[in-house]
Amino acid sequence: MGEWSSRVIPIVRGLCLLYVTHKYLGTTVVTYGPSMLPTLGITGNVLLMERISTRTGKLRPGDVVFFRSPENPRRVVCKRLVGMEGDQVTYVVDPKNSDKCNAIVVQKGHVWVEGDNIYNTKDSRNFGAVPYGLVEGKAFWTLLPRKDFGSLAPKPK
């Protein structure tokens, strides 16, 4: 009994430590889809996500963030943070069809996110400001593809 537990407990401790790191510190994420072109490619990027900025409230407009989709709680979505609570955000409502702009003030406890590829993205312009509680973490480093290795590009003008 004694030696069985002395072998199992370090394994259990190691797995729990992995889980705690994944949930509270950071993890790697694979992204895919066209909504963040040209910053992130269609075929997929491997990014490092950290959760400390989210917990300490150090997110700033311009950060690439991951959040649980308000339309499907089982999906985690990657977009760029454009406005924090209280900010005024101006956005093009439907870039493919018209130039009409709309300006809103981000409500308390929410953030406004937009994809870099405004022609092919579902973001706050579709589902509104996202409650801060849905934000999972901030992407701070690209691992793959090799040519993009390093910190992420700022929002293209």
Binding site: I9, V12, R13, L15, C16, L17, Y19, V20, K23, F67, R68, S69, P70, E71, N72, P73, R74, K108, G109, H110, P131, Y132, G133, L134, V135
Partner: protein, 168 residues
């Protein structure tokens, strides 16, 4: 020779216990105190302002429901407030995605991925009637049992009110 290795062993044991209990409380279930009277008489039926933190109900919150986010009408859930992510609320699910819920002023359609929550004590409850449908991603667990006080230990039943909600 004796003291540093004893200290190290104690620290290692504390670390092991801490990490394992954090994982269990995040993935399986945890025990949470219920503050306020918004869920009276299900939780905190008597508001006693003198001894509030001692007489608050303590409930068991299970986290296994977060693997597929499938809830039923009448479930009591714990969720982060949409207005302040640091606060957590405990309310009952009255409407699921696709339902139409009747409030005093109009009828609201619950969008995909959201739910409508209300407290059992409608007179003193800050819920979806104020802040609208809540995204299911904000849900942190489901309340299954009351564990304290000992004379009210029981499981928490689903309570539905069919007259205000029409399903999708």
């Amino acid at each position: 020779m004796g003291t540093p290795s004893v200290l190290w062993n104690v620290a290692k044991k504390c670390f092991t216990v801490g990490v394992i209990s954090l994982t269990v409380s995040d993935l399986f279930s945890s025990i949470v105190p219920v503050r306020g009277a918004s869920m009276s008489p299900t939780f905190n039926p008597k508001t006693n302002s003198l001894l509030e933190s001692l007489s608050d109900d303590r409930v068991l919150v299970e986290k296994l429901c977060l693997s597929n986010y499938k809830f039923s009408h009448g479930d009591v859930i714990v969720f982060c407030s949409p207005d302040n992510h640091k606060e957590k609320h405990i309310k009952r699910i009255v409407g699921l995605p696709g339902d139409w819920v009747g409030t005093i002023y109009d009828v609201v359609h619950i969008p995909e991925g959201h739910c409508w929550v209300e407290g059992d004590n409608l007179a003193s409850s800050l819920d979806s009637r104020s802040f609208g449908p809540v995204p299911l991603g904000l849900v942190k667990g489901r309340v299954t049992h009351i564990l304290w006080p000992p004379n009210r230990v029981s499981s928490v039943e689903r309570k539905t009110s069919r007259n205000r909600v029409s399903p999708s």
